[in-house]
């Protein structure tokens, strides 16, 4: 008997070292907590004894969850699961929990012993993994879209190179036939004029344009892929200075367009200075490219902080983007107006890529004719290093 009690005491001591232990009476009032319970819940023993477990309820689980627990243990079965609790200081923690009902000789639960293990870190890791998985899925989708667009956009000039290449061969054959048919190699001009003056120049024009287009696409792709590898230096950015710098870099074009640029006070944001400046540059460039032919260009830059993000807007009074084209505007190599001002269709794709790497976003609002407002966001407080993939 003596050794049995001693053994039980040893087991209890070991358990107290390992686990968070609490005992409640049949009505749920706390009658015992060990030191680990006090330390994780940040309540003193006196604050806990006599209370029920609602004191550490985090509000995370629905009421039905707790009803389920009570249903199980009241009927004499052990409950096992994961619970998120709230400590005295408001912080939350996750515990892997086993609740064992101790039955009275009458077959009713007399008290409940709950043994818990802190799994807060594991839960955080799981959530982080989940975010990584979502990020990766998103990136994968993006890559797929790029490959899809590229295969189309590269194939398009290739079709011309192939098709007009065949026409060149045919022109050669015809000239050759004309030579073969002519006695003493005296080929009449009429036999080759059409080939030399129409067919061959046309074929060469399309072949050269196709090759040029493919070169442009590949150079753009290389530029885009390089962006993903460049190291970022995330720092607190004085956006007023970053925007002013971007505007002054384009002063010549802005002056030539007689643009009226207005800038409100901008909140600071956390990002890479060079890349964020490039976002401003691309947006100003777009405002210039797509300005309205009949209106003097006006660009308005404003900013505000919302939900931990600094949001900046660049509004213009240009030609605007119809609602059905607004999503496409960010697609790689997509150009609003292929007959319009030159460009490779990368400006907004690059802006989006650059911002996503800095935990920011970019989107556009446009009522069509009245102009476009591009918004982009960056964290307004220093981002957690953990969340940077």
């Amino acid at each position: 008997m003596r050794t049995t009690v001693r053994e039980l005491q040893d087991i209890k001591a070991a358990l107290d070292q390992h686990s968070i232990v609490a005992i409640t009476d049949a009505s749920g009032r706390i009658t015992y907590v060990n030191d680990k319970f006090c330390s994780i819940s940040k309540y003193s023993r006196d604050e806990l004894l006599g209370k029920d477990h609602r004191i550490i309820n985090s509000g995370y689980h629905p009421k039905a969850f707790f009803r389920g627990i009570w249903g199980t243990i009241r009927s004499g079965r052990t409950w096992h699961g994961e619970i998120r609790n709230r400590a005295k200081d408001g912080s939350t923690y996750w515990v892997d929990t086993t609740i064992y009902p101790c039955m009275s000789p009458a077959g009713k639960p007399a008290q409940y012993v709950a043994i818990r293990t802190d799994i807060t870190q594991r839960k955080a890791d799981e959530a982080q993994l989940q975010r990584y998985a979502e990020d990766l899925a998103e990136k994968n989708k993006e890559l797929e879209a790029i490959v899809n667009t590229l295969s189309h956009d590269l194939r398009s000039p290739l079709i011309n190179v192939q098709g007009f290449g065949k026409q060149l061969s045919r022109a050669c054959e015809r000239i050759h036939a004309a030579f073969a048919a002519a006695p003493d190699r005296a080929v009449p001009a009429s036999a080759v004029r059409q080939q030399l003056e129409v067919a061959i120049p046309q074929a060469l024009k399309f072949i050269n344009a196709g090759v040029g287009r493919m070169d442009l696409l590949l150079a753009g792709l290389l530029r885009f892929s390089r962006l993903g590898r460049e190291a970022l230096t995330i720092e607190r950015l004085d956006m007023n200075a970053v925007a002013a710098e971007a505007f002054s870099a384009m002063k010549f074009q802005l002056d030539a367009a007689k643009a009226d640029v207005r800038m409100g006070p901008l909140p600071a944001g956390y990002g890479d200075k060079v890349q964020t400046s490039q976002v401003f540059g691309n947006l100003i460039d777009n405002a210039l490219k797509y300005r309205h032919p009949k209106r003097a260009l006006r660009i308005m830059v404003e900013g505000h902080v919302k939900d931990g993000q600094s949001v900046y807007s660049v509004a213009d009074n240009g030609v605007g983007i119809a609602p059905e084209h607004q999503l496409k505007a960010f697609e790689i190599f997509h150009r609003l107006d292929p007959d319009g001002p030159p460009g490779e269709g990368l400006g907004l794709t690059i802006a989006r890529r650059v911002l996503e790497r800095q935990k920011g976003r970019i989107w556009v609002e446009s009522a069509g004719e009245g102009g476009s407002t591009f918004y982009f966001s960056l964290p307004s407080t220093e981002p957690q290093p953990l969340s940077t993939p």
Binding site: N160, Q162, A209, L336
Partner: protein, 151 residues
């Protein structure tokens, strides 16, 4: 009086790529087709042809047409053109051959969803074109009729 059943339809090529349109036209001409061929540089121009909003060439009532429609175009794309045509009670039977730049299952899927079951992958060559025409059940109307035989 026009009778669409016995007239060779005018072929409308809707493609933003001028080179592709020239290649398609020359392939059809090289094969001896003497249908009139018209080129539209984008989806909007093709829609304007059937849904007139201003001056410019318009479809003739009762005229026979066959559309070769590029799917990927900026602004109004082929899917949008197809959607508008299929939604119109008078135009939904207009034969349309969708042109795709690459063998893209998703693009083909979109065409099918809009009720277009004939598509060609570029470059358009005459044999593939006639096969597509056969599937549309239109082969007879495209057969060549020597100009001397009939007015």
């Amino acid at each position: 009086m026009n009778n669409a059943g016995t007239r060779a339809p005018a072929i409308l090529i809707v493609d933003d790529d001028e080179g592709h349109a020239i290649l398609a036209r020359e392939s059809l001409e090289a094969a001896g087709l003497n249908n009139s061929i018209q080129h539209f540089r984008d989806g909007q121009a093709a829609l304007d042809f059937f849904f007139p909003v201003g001056p410019g060439p318009h479809a003739v009532r009762g005229g026979a047409y066959l559309m070769l429609l590029d799917i990927r175009m900026p602004k109004v794309d082929g899917v949008e053109v197809l959607r508008r045509l299929k939604a119109d009670p008078e135009l939904h039977n207009l034969p349309v051959i969708a042109l795709t730049t690459a063998d893209d299952a998703r693009e083909v899927e979109r065409c099918h969803a809009l009720g277009c079951d004939v598509y060609l992958q570029k470059p358009v060559d005459y044999e593939k074109f006639t096969e597509a025409i056969r599937r549309l059940g239109l082969f007879m109307t495209l057969l060549l009729i020597p100009p001397t035989k009939k007015s």
